[in-house]
Amino acid sequence: MLKIINGEIYDPVNNINGEVREIYVDKGQITASVAGGRTIDAAGMVVMPGGVDMHCHIAGPKVNTARKMRPEDHRLDPAPRTPFTRSGVGKTVPTTFVTGYRYAAMGYTTAFDAAVPPMAARHAHEEFSDTPIIDKGFFVLMGNNEFIMRQIAAGEHEKLRHYVAWLLQASKGYGVKLVNPGGVEMWKSLGNARSIDDEVTGFGVTPRQIIESLAEVCMELRLPHCAHIHCNNLGVAGNWQTTMDTMKALDGRRGHLAHVQFHSYGGRPGKLFTSRVQELAEYVNTHPNLTVDIGQVLFGDTTSMTGDGPLAYMLHQISGRKWVNVDVENEEGCGIVPVEYKDKNYVHTTQWAIGLEWFLLIRDPWRIALSTDHPNGASFIAYPRIIRLLMDREYRREMLKHVNPKAIAKTTLPDQDREYSLYEIAIITRAAPARILGLKNKGHLGVGADADITIYDKNEDKEKMFSSPRYVIKEGEVLVEDGHIRQETYGRTLYVSPQYDPAVEKDIREYFDRYYTIQFENYPVQLENYLPRPEEVAID
């Protein structure tokens, strides 16, 4: 039992904007009152729900291959064992333990990995089992799944829906992810999709059809989270048109556009490179079916990892740095390249500005989530700095002095005066991502919510304030005090289990026999062995 008194509460779901109220916790949940237990006096402090990261890369084969690839990165950031915590390494691709601790130490209590190929779902769950404190889940890669493309081409929408439900169950995943739909399949023969109307070689479908069908299926299955889309042409100059086409193709269906920063570029490949946020943000502003997360870039060294194989190859060709490509049979691909974003670089400055433009040009904070697409734009550790950039206009102006002046002049960023309030920050870092994910017990402090609470000392320097919360409470347990982890716990794995017609299994089994190298029976992830604390999120 726990009582938090005298704190300024920021709980946008319940319309509480900085009022001093008391919060009661019992049995891991927020309750109306408690008798006894510890009392935390949060006088002069800011109380928010635990942070929710709805798009990051923290577990599974791609993350782990990146770990294997970057000993030079790890060497710079060793994390020693403590009486409460396991050891590991940090920097751009932290180990599982360090991932959990560092999210928690920053006041984040929930995180979703954005791209797991179902064939390696077991791997992601194994890593989740070693990722302490936070609750987590993942989105299942489906945008290049050959079985799915065949059903779409054949007009078998019913069968498609049953298959998607089966695949979510088999992988114990949380949502449906599309990465460069169709394009990754084409990359398997060195091609790529250049528009949403290119035909996917050998399958007779277009990215547009994949986007439409899967967005539709997510709604039909009443999944808590809508189709989560990484558009075609990520990172390519002029790709804003593809992004616009994708949003239009959704045609009123719910859809979440991931790391939109990387998809908002004007110009032509190799020529101009400009920001086209204004047009895209305006479209999102006027279409309530759409939500976005940003994928903010910050300057420094990081590791790009993506289900978008051709993109990684492009990055490798530009930088000449080491390159990993993994094509996963019948399902997906992935690519990994170390990347350094430099403040003097024209393109990198433009990317940095575009992310901030998105934050500042979207009018409704409920449809936007803070993300760096960790670690693609930057490590999640950078979130407090992004918060400062949003809350502190002067700091932003100071930063403008150090970036490429030609590039920044072509964006609207120098003209933006908007400053986020604490209330709005609470929206884009917890309330909105929880709502977009369809998590009813997260992102707020109303009675019945999970008692995931972060308490910050007030500080004019918002980066400092959000870097080291005074207390972090997970499921009612005070885990972090004064910036240090005081005990190690393991959070839950969130997954969905939509119903399907078992008759579809016959087709799937046949497909497995022909094209997979793993037996149909050995494919699904066993709940009891791989999800130590499973929590099935109910379907409405």
């Binding site: 770990r67 060497r75 396991r86 050891s87 390159w323």
Partner: protein
């Protein structure tokens, strides 16, 4: 009783389509398994004679064994945990924690097989794929320094050569198979093209092929040095650049000969260069059934795939410094825990001798050279026969092992958990 879709965890193929027949508590048949797999299944079905624990050769209880082993380990300054490639990920995870608590080194068989492939990945990256991509798409399959017919007998028949795939409907006829090696091995029978290069010239051959893929010309002398004709080299490069989907499987002929990680780097760079012309992938022919798993477990827990040291309280990595052969042959390790491996038989003499000088503890289902010299030897159940667990295939695809026989022995994971708990008590942490 018959169990279907059983995983054979013997080699890195981890074929999961084995039908195992159990009669009277013994495995009598392992249908679909290759000759190595059959032996593995049948040899593990023999009734157990070994005591669960032995201390200096004398029978002991599990508790006594744990106590003795924990004391040896807790007292040591530079303990080594080694092996792990033939046990489950669950046991591997415990082993890493034990190494961390001990402040010791942990290394796996990777460091003496495909460590150089891991180092090439760290140096230049790796274009690769899962085995099903090979089955579905590969029209050019190259084995280099690998003899799958003997080391991975179903590799060709289940994954890479014979099966019909989505874009290779003709199966074997739709593929060109090339074998490159320093001697004619039984695998050459399956190959359309066998190229015998001079021993110790793998790097030069791969480097020359990369030059051809980069549009350079070579001279006859360069080719002769490698042991091939210029025509042979040009022909191979031409096939590589003009295939639809090529794959290069690299074996220990590359990783464990002079040049080691540079040989694999050369292979990786060749495949990287080929991707300008054709879709091309590469895959190390991982040997043991879960050697890829231990790389993965180590990577997600420590950031590094093998040869990890915890003496500073955090993981450090440096092949040649913290790797098994080095810490043993330099006489640094002062205690060793060997999990499901027989280094006393397989490591170079100096390293193997060190194991006999220090308190060595083993976890193994069988008697081996290492269990014979062990101060404490635990007999454990075999993952995939008597115990469930997770393994990773050579292409990093995870599979759940099935249990087909009951066992009186604890699993590696169980012994390691007990050991960990006791070591924590002794070290008061």
């Amino acid at each position: 009783m018959q169990f279907d879709n059983v995983v054979c965890a013997f080699c890195g193929c981890d074929c999961d389509d084995i039908s195992v027949t159990v009669e009277n508590g013994r495995i009598t048949q392992a249908r679909n398994a290759c000759v190595l797999g059959k032996t593995w299944f049948l040899s593990h079905s023999a009734p157990a004679h070994l005591p669960v624990a032995r201390i200096e050769g004398k029978t002991a209880s599990l508790e006594q064994g744990i106590e003795a082993a924990a004391r040896y380990l807790a007292q040591s300054r530079y303990p080594l945990i080694y092996g792990l490639s033939s046990t489950s990920c669950e046991a591997q995870r415990k082993s890493v924690e034990l190494a961390e608590v001990l402040g010791g080194c942990i290394d796996c068989c990777t460091s003496v097989c495909h460590g150089p492939s891991g180092m090439a990945l760290q140096g230049v990256g790796e274009p690769t794929c899962t085995l099903g991509e090979v089955k579905n798409r590969a029209d050019l399959v190259i084995y280099w320094g690998s003899n799958p017919a003997e080391s991975h007998p179903r590799h060709m028949t289940r994954y890479a050569v014979t099966p019909k795939g989505m874009f290779v409907p003709e199966g074997r006829k739709g593929r060109t198979v090339v074998l490159v090696d320093v001697r004619r091995t039984p695998s050459a029978r399956t190959a359309d093209i066998f190229l015998q290069i001079r021993p110790g010239k793998d790097f030069e051959a791969l480097w020359a092929l990369q030059a051809l893929a980069n549009g350079r010309e070579l001279d006859k002398a360069g080719a002769a040095e490698i042991g091939l004709t210029l025509e042979q080299l040009n022909d191979l490069a031409d096939r590589m650049m003009h295939c639809k989907f090529g794959v290069l499987f690299v074996g220990q002929g590359l990783t464990q000969t002079r040049g080691k990680h540079f040989n694999t780097s050369a292979a990786f760079l060749l495949v990287r260069a080929l991707n300008r012309h054709a879709k091309f992938a590469l895959m190390p022919m991982r040997g043991h059934g879960n050697v890829a798993g231990v790389d993965n477990v180590l990577a997600w827990q420590t950031g590094y795939p093998f040869g990890v040291n915890f003496s500073m309280g955090y993981p450090r990595f440096n092949p040649g410094e913290y790797t098994v052969v080095d810490v043993l042959s330099r006489g640094e390790a002062d205690a060793a825990l060997i999990v499901a491996s027989d280094p006393a038989a397989s490591l170079p003499g100096k390293a193997a001798r060190r194991l006999a000088e220090i308190p060595t503890i083993t976890l193994d289902a069988h008697e081996s050279e290492t269990t014979k010299i062990a101060k404490v030897a635990f007999a454990t159940a075999t993952a995939g026969i008597h115990a469930e667990g997770t393994v990773y295939r050579m292409d990093n695809i995870p599979i759940r092992l099935r249990k087909v026989l009951p066992s009186n022995y604890p699993s590696d994971e169980e012994v390691l958990s007990l050991l960990l708990a006791r070591v924590k008590e002794l070290k008061a942490c």
